[in-house]
Amino acid sequence: MDMFGVILLIALFLIIIILSVSFLIIYNNFVRLRNNISKSLANIDVLLKQRSNEIPNLVKTVKGYMKHEKEVLESLTKARSFLINSDTLSQKAAADNAITGLVKSIFAIAENYPDLKAGENFLKLQKRITGLENELADRREFYNDSVTIYNIRIQSIPDLVVARMMHLNPIDLFKATKKDQEKVDINLK
């Protein structure tokens, strides 16, 4: 074998090593990415549940004051049950949007009731729920970032090849579809 042949053989061998190692790294990355997405969704669920658990307390605390805003409180209770019974990511997101909006309305209405606003219980709840809302917003953003990275990866070269072999499909963002949002809105009405 001449020198050129040897060089070609070694180069080929190195290319095979590079490709094999890249395949392994990309494969493991997909496993990690999918696990990260599942974990970040589970982390959202934890906070959604924690916030849901606070809703009955909030309703109980403000009920005595907000007699004229009864429908807002009823809607909040309905949205909570919708969230508990939701099966899909989009339904969860729709219920979450509704709860976020209704909680904001209750806090805004509470401004008209100085006694309620000054109450220790209400203040504690407001702080707790606002804290949970902020964390939820961060985790939603984190989940959507993780999903975006994953969706871009499975559609770009060279990851695309490995993704096809693993039968990977794009994952939905934490976002309500129009249909589910309407469903929640109708339910609340």
Binding site: M3, V6, I7, I10, A11, L14, I17, I18, V21, S22, I25, I26, N29, R32, L33, N36, K39, S40, N43, K127, R128, G131, N134, E135, D138, R139, E141, F142, D145, S146, I149, R153
Partner: protein
């Protein structure tokens, strides 16, 4: 001559393999950094996390950098001596060391405790000082050398040795990128306190080997890793080919 050539061939091959492996490790790390979005500190979840924020030191627990005596939360130093024999010369490290304290990282949402133990701390040198014949080290350096029992004067007529003092440190207000494992903070007794942020500490995980701290932005870290991957694969491959050919012929 034959032995020298043999050593050269082994060196070339080993260097090639080293570069190649370095490229593979860098590629793995690059992917890891790319795949993890940056978390807001107030909503950090347990496990491997990436954060970016400003260093907040604790006034009661702060270090002084060895040569410039600046407040810092981490430092690393090395003292090298210039040595020459015949035509060749090089800097030989005669003393090195490091120290750290726990510190906080703050972003616009909160603050989290950092335990930098066992982290790969990737920061450029902050100060490089020299001393040589006719040039004594500064008073602060002399104090440090005295404590560490290192002489800057040589044994012959007390003539100064040619020394180089390099220090790397992380100061309060430095911006840091951290990729590490979020775990329960052992210093907080009640883990069920509201918000949970104080319950978290970033450290090296039991299962995650990668713990990285840098004062560069994520973008800069990634472009550097890209360069390492590219150069490592290209030059590593070339050196391996050269090494093997030199063994055959």
């Amino acid at each position: 001559m034959f032995i020298q050539f043999l050593v050269f061939r082994i060196f070339i091959s080993a260097l090639g393999i080293g570069l190649f492996v370095w490229a593979i490790i860098s590629f793995k790390n690059k992917r890891l950094i790319e795949n993890i979005p940056t978390s807001k500190i107030r909503s950090i979840a347990m496990g491997l996390v990436e954060i970016y924020g400003e260093v907040v030191g604790r006034k009661d627990n702060i270090l002084k950098s060895p040569f410039s005596q600046k407040d810092c939360v981490y430092y690393r130093y090395k003292i090298e001596e210039y040595r020459s024999s015949g035509k060749s010369s090089h800097w030989a490290t005669i003393r090195k060391g490091s120290d750290y304290v726990y510190f906080y990282i703050k972003d616009d949402t909160g603050m989290v405790l950092i335990d930098p133990k066992d982290a790969k701390i990737d920061i450029p040198a902050d100060n490089v000082f020299n001393s040589s014949i006719g040039k004594d080290p500064s008073f602060k350096i002399q104090q440090f050398l005295q404590r560490e029992k290192v002489r800057f004067e040589g044994s012959i007529f007390g003539i100064n040795r040619t020394l180089r003092y390099t220090e790397y440190f992380i100061e309060p207000y430095d911006k840091l990128y951290i990729l590490g494992t979020a775990a329960d903070n052992p210093f907080v007794k009640d883990a069920s306190t509201f918000k949970g942020v104080d319950d978290v500490i970033i450290k090296k995980g039991k299962h995650e080997k990668f713990y990285y701290i840098s004062d560069r932005s994520e973008k800069m870290i990634l472009s550097r890793l890209n360069l390492i991957v590219l150069c490592g694969f290209v030059f590593g491959s070339l050196l391996i080919i050269l090494g093997i050919i030199s063994f055959i012929w």
